[in-house]
Every structure is written in structure tokens, then in C-alpha cells.
Amino acid sequence: MDLSVFVQLLLPGLTTGCVYALVALGFVLCANVSGVVNFAQGEYVMLGGVIGASLLAHTGSLALAVLGATLAGALLGAAQERLTLAPVRAAPDFIQITITLGVAVVLRGIALIAFGKDPLSMPGFSGDGVFEVAGAVVPLQSLWVWGASAAMLAAMFVFLMHSDAGRAVRACAINLQAARLMGVDAERLTLFVFSIAGATAALAGVVVTPIVLANWDAGIAYGLKGFVGAILGNFRSPVVALAGGLGIGVLESFAAGYVSSGYKDAIVYGVLLAYLLVRGGVFVFGRAALLSR
């Protein structure tokens, strides 16, 4: 195997993988605190991209574009939680989850109307240059993606491990009911987590836009691939979710490079299906399967 080809596929895979990882983390955080799988998670990445790109085009200020996109993600995440989930907290799960899907459709629709059908582009944060690693050519913007992701993950880690709110989130992950009984203010925490998830996804979206463009209908793919990461960690472990997201990015890139770019999505989703079938126990019957869930 040619090392430079390998690296040429690995590094872009890690770049998109960072986005999937952040989406996966958003899934896990929201699911643990609110009990709801937020199907709109991927749309925040898309929104970050289109809002950032058009802010930059209109104002010319990169800082404003990045800040604006992140803030929009946080506000929309909070609005989603307040307006569409808080009123139906007592409703059956499938209702709440279907609502998050409806929100995803609204967000896509708004993006389509406001920013148009055509993909938006954005220059790299420090120019459109490239650098070389082991014979592979990588856009400079990848460094921004990796750096921003690492910074967000570090902030998230500090938050989860060293703050009261973070401890509360971890308690919810272990036992939502018990955490609420112990006085965790689930209402506030849910709002907080949804806005954090929206903000990190949107920031990831704006940082990755110079490499992949921002398109109104890209949200489903981000959501589904992030979901793969989240489900690998069983919607519990943020670390596995992260690793899963990164892994999906790399897998996708390898599938495109070594197999066929037309089939890359089919391969990623095929891996998801295969994993679910095995987890669900194609080979396990009866009690063991039911009780392991």
C-alpha cells in the first residue's frame, strides 16, 4: 500500500470525522439530559456553514462570520428546546422525537429559502494554501478544523469533568430519573445542553465550509453519520461517540478512495446497518437479546 495515498485519504477523513464527532457528542449530551434523540442535530452544522459563509460574504469579517454562526447555533438550539420540546415534556417519546424531525425539516426549509439552492463557499481562514505531510497534500484549513475541534473537545472535557453543570450532565447519563430526584434542575440543564450542542455543531459547520462547501441539504448526512458515532457509544459514552465520529469520517474517506466515490455513502451506511444487525443480535435469540438492551 502506498503510504502517501493512505495519508492523502486519512487526513481529509479526520477532518470531516471531526465534524461527525462533534455531532455525535451533541447527540449524546442531548439524549442523556432530555431523553430525546435530537434528529435536528446535523442541521446545525449545515446552518453554521451557510450562515457563516453568507455573513462573510456580506460583512467581509471572518471573526464576525464565525462568531455569528456559532451564536446562531446556540440561539437556535435554545429556541428549539424552549419552543418545541419544553411544552411536550410529558408526551410519549415517539412524539418528542418526531417533533425534532419536524424542526430539522423547518431548519432545512429556512436555509433553502434564505440562502438558496446553490452551495455556498468560503475562503480558507488563513488563505487557500496547502501543506504537505508524508507526500499528501492537505488544505491549510484542515489545521483550523482540527484545532477548533480539539479546542471545543478540551472545553467540553473541562466542562463535563470539572464543573457542577458537567457533573449534573454525567449524573443524568447514568440515571436521568435519579439525577432529577437529587435536585438536578433538568429544565435549565436541558436548555443549556441544547444550546451548547447547537453552538458546537454550528462552529464545526463554519470551520469546515472552506473545505466542503455549505449546502442547505447537507444536514441529514451530518446527522446520520454523527448518529453512527453516538450509537457506537450506546448514546452513553462521549469518548466512544467521539472516536466513532472520527472513525466514520476516515472510513468514508477510505471507501471513497479505495473502493468508489459513488459507493462511499452506501459503505458508511452499510456499516451502520451491519453493526445494528449484529448488535440487535441476528445471531442472538430470545431472552439474552431482549435483556441486553
Binding site: I95, T98, G102, V105, I220, L224, S260, A266, Y269, G280
Partner: protein
Amino acid sequence: MKRRAALAAFVLLVLAYPLMVRGSYPLSVGIITGALAAGTVGFVLLLGYAHQLALGQAGFCMVGGYASAILCVQHKWDPLAALIAGAAAAMALAWMIAAPILKLRGFVLAMASLALHLILVVVAFETAFTGGALGTYGVPKFALFGLPLASDLAYYYVVWAIVLAFVLIGLAIDGSRIGRALKAIAASETAALSAGIDIRRYKLLMFVLSAGMASVCGSLAVHYLRAMDPNVFGFAFSLNFITAVIVGGLETVWGGVVGAVLVTGVREMLRGLSLPLWEGVIMGALTVVVLIAFRRGFAGFLGALYERWTSRDAPPRVSIAEPDNAALASHGKPAALELAGVSRSFGNLRAVNNASFHVAAGSITALIGPNGAGKTTLFNLICGYQPLDSGSVSYENRRIDTLLPDDIAELGIGRTFQNLQLFDNMSVLENVMCGRHRFVEREAASRSRARAALAFVGLRDAERLPPSALAFGHQRLVEMARALALEPRLLLLDEPASGLNDAETERLAELVLRIAALGVTVLLVEHDMRLVMGLADHVIVMHHGEKLADGAPDDVRREQAVIDAYLGIEEHAAA
């Protein structure tokens, strides 16, 4: 009545629509609406009845669409045969992915079906036999038994006849034990299991059925469009399904029909206003708003309107009849239960530790102990709600500790719950009929057996009420009647007297004796000492997860360890 009125209105509107409109455009809208309705009727069964969301339902439309296109164009199949083959393929595919995936918790099936759909899109683009990105052209018009349908009008009627057939299938499911089982699952999975209802089986059934109907939707649309390509049934089409059934109404299959009409109507209106880009926002917003504010949807609204117009009779009065001893026949030979070395830990807590005892056939055995002694855990272990760490449970000399709760109920082990678990979405009678689930019998037979069980516990006149309209003590009796309807040979009662007043407790004691006289072994967990000592002929005392004593009530009462651990403290506190 309501059902007949709805069917009549449906047939009338379908017949009249072509007469009321002019030109081919409204007719083509009618055909596309009908094709969509064929799929959305199935989707109500999935989302509204089985409470499973699928984000990739259009994937099954693709299966049907490509089956019709490829088989009719390249292999010259009869369109009807191709439609059926497509539906069979879609159902097989649905079964293959859902059978394992429905064992997983959470909304994994939703994403799995989306993944399947997106894989199908890629395959359709990349392979030659589908025609790739260009698709397959020249699909013939639909034909019935070799007779091609020359006019669009004829096709319109055929499409809507298929919709009617699907609606009738849906209504038949709604009124059957399957529909009842689905309602029971929706209200309380725990209680559904105790009635012997296999949860996964019914969810799987609805997923497979809805996939078949979605496939027919795809076939019907493709015979009208006369071409099939990978973009016909995209993600947006799946969203159409979801919006349609939510706006239309999730409670009845009519919601699927109404929703298909509304969704097509909104889309055509937006086209008329030259605002096609707004479709997503409006559909999404409708979905969210209806789910938050009008969860019954438009069909639910119509149903409520009809009821307000037609219902004149006052709500039935609750009067509780005298229990009817002769209502139930003997259940036959009572069964024995044997526990050997049963243990179960939660983390570091040994909830049940090496418990062994025998529940004699025909006995009334009481399981007592202070709070946290492990009594309810023991019940859950016996009934299969939790796995044992070690040990064995045998019923009639047969190991049952590897069985699932619904299988255990099916063997004739009934149970009630400490916290009432009734199905609030059904009448009292239907609640009890759920207990008949393990018997495959006619509805009339099921109804009369359920009535007999209600008469036995003294609730003959409450059958039409929702359980929530009854007093707490009577709700407990409904739960007992449901467990009795299962014709158990062993009945487990989890604190049946909690929340009852003295008179009710006395009546409960009589009821338990009468149940035992039917030939039912009774095992009960109870705190009320008077009840236990008066009723039980065998008492087992648990403490800190271990069995402390085991014997006749009078012997147990004298044991010093028991007095120290439990009775002494209680009497002391009472004094």
C-alpha cells in the same frame, strides 16, 4: 356507526371527485394523492399504532417503483404481478432489517431505515439494471388481469380501490386482538408483557405491513409517471409520509387518507402561488405545530366533531354489582412454583440472595418482609422481567427462568402490579380482553370471557368506562380481572391491598379466597399483616434479600428472628 359513516363519506367523495373537476390536471392530482394515501395508510399503522418512526419509508417506495419499472419494461411482466412482487420484496427487506433492530432500544429503527433508503439510492444510481441516474423509461400503463387501463379515470378508480382495501385492512387490525395488543403496548409495555403480548412481534408486523403498502404506493406512482429514477422517491418523500400522517391524524388509518389529501393539497397550492421552495418549511412547521397542539390530527378532529353531533346518551353510570361467584368456571389444576438458589444483584446491592422456596399447588402463599427486602425483585425474577444472576425458577417442573415475560404469561402465570398498570387508552372491558391475548378465539368469545371475569370481581357495570373513571380500589379490581382473564393457574399479586380502605381490604380477602377456589395457586406480596395472617396458608419472610423463615402463619409468627426483623418492629411502632 362512526365507521360506516366514514366509509360512506369516503366512497362518495372518491366517486364524486372526477365528476366535479374538469380536465386532466385535477385527475392526475387525484391519482398521485391516491398513490400517496396507499402508503400513508400503512404509515399510520407504523407511527400511530406501533409508535415506531421510520425516516426512510420512501426506500420501500423505491423497491416497489423499481420492481414495477424493471419487471414490466425489461421482463414484460404483468403490472399487477410486478406490483405484488415488489410489495413482497419490500416486506422481506423490512423484516430482515427490523427483526434484529427492533430488539434495540431507542429510535434506532428510524435511522436504520434512513440508512437503508440512502443505500438503495446509491445502488440505484450506480448499478446498470436500474438504469442508473437516467432511470428506467417507458413503463406501461397499469393493467388489471391483462386488461390495460386506457384512461386516467379508470386508473384513478383502481388506485382508490386499492386505498380502500388498505383502509379496510387497517380497520380490521384496529378492531382485532392485534389492534388491542398495539394499544396495550402503547399504554404500558410492562403490563402488555404481563398479558402475554409479544411487543417486538407486533411492532415488526406493522413495520413489514407498512413497507408493503409503501411499495404499492411506489408501484402505483411509477405506473402513472411512466418512468422511474433514483430521485423520484427521495428523503423529501419520506418526510411527506411523516407530515401526512401527523397532520391527518395518528389515531386511525383514516388519518393516512386525510393526510395524503392535505399534503398534496398544500403542495399544489404552493405551486399555484409559485412558492415551491416553501414546501419544506410549511410541512415541517405543520408537523411540529400539530404534534404540540393538536395531537389527534385532522381525522381526530373530524371524529370528535361527529361524536358531538351524534352522541345523545348520557355517560354510563358507575354502579358496582355484587361479585358473581358463578361467573368463572374452575381453571383446572392449580400449579406449583419452585425457586432454587435464586440471586440477583444490582451493582453492589444483593437484592435477592440465594432464595429457595416452594409454592405448593393450590396454596395461598404470602411473601412478606420490610421495605427493601427484595420481594418485588423476586416477583420480577419469577415473571421474567429481570434476568437471574444464578439459581432457577420452575413452574410445573419446567424451568422458566430463561423465558421472556410474555412467554411466562402465556404459560398461565398472571400478575398484578404494585403501582397500577392499566391501559388508559382503552375501556375497562378492553383492558380485561387484553388478558385473553394468549387465546386465539373469536372476538365475541373473548368479550364474553372478559365480561365473566369482570362479573367475578364485581365490576359488571363498569365495562364501557375508561379505567381512570373508576375509584382506585375498583381500578385494582380491573387489574385482577385482567389477570384472571388469562385463566392463570398461578397468580402473583403485588401488594393488592395497598391504597385500599378496611372494607375494600376485607372484600379483597374474600376475592383472593374465591380465586384460590377456582383452582389457582396464589402468591402475594403484602404489607397488611392482618390480611396475610388471615388469608395465607403459607408464609415466606424475606429480609435483606434473604429468606428468613418459611412456614405456616402461626409458626412464622413465633420465630424470634422474624419478630426482630419485621413483626416486632412493626408492632412496636404501632403500639
